[in-house]
């Protein structure tokens, strides 16, 4: 597994988007690209080709699960790891999201100080998964 460097952050709330971006760039040292809607993420994806997509579940218009499903239908985004972010996540929902193709779920509100380490932990588990 390559190093996690480029992240596409998809979040409709500008406040949360900014907090997450700052945390990922400052503490994680990641390169972060932003999208405010699922459609914007899909439009930007082919040129960005991120290592990982951090995707909000509940967004107006196209929600996270639909965005993921559309991404999986594309040639460039079929295999890219996606991590969902959502509030009030229940264990059965985590299972549900993983069945949809997400590699993990980060619950909101996230701690900006540990968001990067959470993502790195998730990223490290990819090495242990059968391809």
């Amino acid at each position: 597994m390559s190093t996690l460097k480029h992240i596409l952050l998809v979040e409709d709330d500008p406040d949360i988007q900014e907090v997450a971006r700052m945390a990922l760039e400052s503490l994680g040292g990641f390169e972060v690209a932003l999208a405010s809607t699922g459609q914007e993420a899909l439009d930007k994806f082919p040129t960005l080709h991120p290592d990982l997509v951090l995707l909000d579940v509940m967004m107006p218009g196209m929600n996270g699960p639909t965005t993921l499903a559309r991404l999986r239908q594309t040639t460039t985004g079929a295999q890219t790891p996606v991590v969902f972010m959502t509030a009030k996540v229940q264990p059965h929902e985590v299972t549900q999201y993983k069945e949809l193709g997400a590699i993990d779920v980060i619950s909101k509100p996230f701690d900006p100080m540990t968001l990067s380490s959470q993502l790195l932990e998730i990223w490290s588990t990819l090495e242990q998964r059968p391809s």
Binding site: T3, L4, H6, D12, D13, P14, D15, I16, Q17, E18, V19, R21, M22, A23, E25, S26, L27, G28, G29, E31, V32, A33, L34, A35, S36, E40, K44, T47, L48, M58, P60, A87, K88, K108, P109, F110, D111, P112, M113, T114, S116, S117, Q118, L120, E121, W123, S124
Partner: protein, 172 residues
């Protein structure tokens, strides 16, 4: 082994370990103590950033991040009265002309408020917004008009939000 904040971040990147070093724990505790652990918007949306903002190989220590997060929190709190006006206007419109779209819009605004409120440590605000959100979600799913009781609960909830969205500037 003593590590600087930069060293901690570098170590984290190299190893991908979840462990939180003592230095970072101390930084987090300081942040929580100042009420800035979950923190607002500096007016920069997705459209304002070029793809992949890269800060270079030198990552910042937590302190500048904490300072920036604290500024965002203050900015978030300052915008709350305007956001309340927006919610009140939506509610007025809904009370006069009920529509699925208006309910949806109110739900989305409250959802954002609940999420951002929790991020910026406004737990009570977040809890009330979340409660209203759940009520509206139920209405949206069933596609029913609010019953008189639900209408009352929504009105009461919005009233509860008012003082929470007009914080004392000294508290921010």
């Amino acid at each position: 082994m003593h590590m600087t904040h930069k060293g901690v971040a570098h170590h984290l990147l190299q190893t991908g370990r979840q462990t939180i070093p003592r230095e970072r724990m101390a930084a987090r505790q300081t942040l929580q103590h100042t009420g800035a652990a979950r923190l607002s918007h500096g007016g920069s949306g997705a459209m304002n950033h070029p793809p992949f903002q890269h800060k270079g190989p030198h990552m910042q220590s937590p302190q500048p991040l904490q300072d920036r997060l604290a500024q965002l929190r203050i900015s978030f709190c300052k915008k709350l009265p305007d956001r309340y006006q927006g919610l009140a206007q939506l509610w007025d419109d809904l009370s006069q002309h009920e529509s699925h779209e208006a309910l949806k819009e109110l739900h989305q605004e409250l959802h954002k408020l609940a999420g951002a409120g929790a991020t910026f440590g406004q737990d009570q605000l977040s809890a009330v917004a979340r409660r209203l959100c759940d009520l509206l979600q139920e209405l949206l799913q069933t596609q029913r008009s609010p019953s008189p009781t639900q209408h009352l609960l929504l009105a009461q909830g919005l009233k509860e939000l008012q003082p929470l969205m007009h914080p004392n500037p000294e508290d921010t």
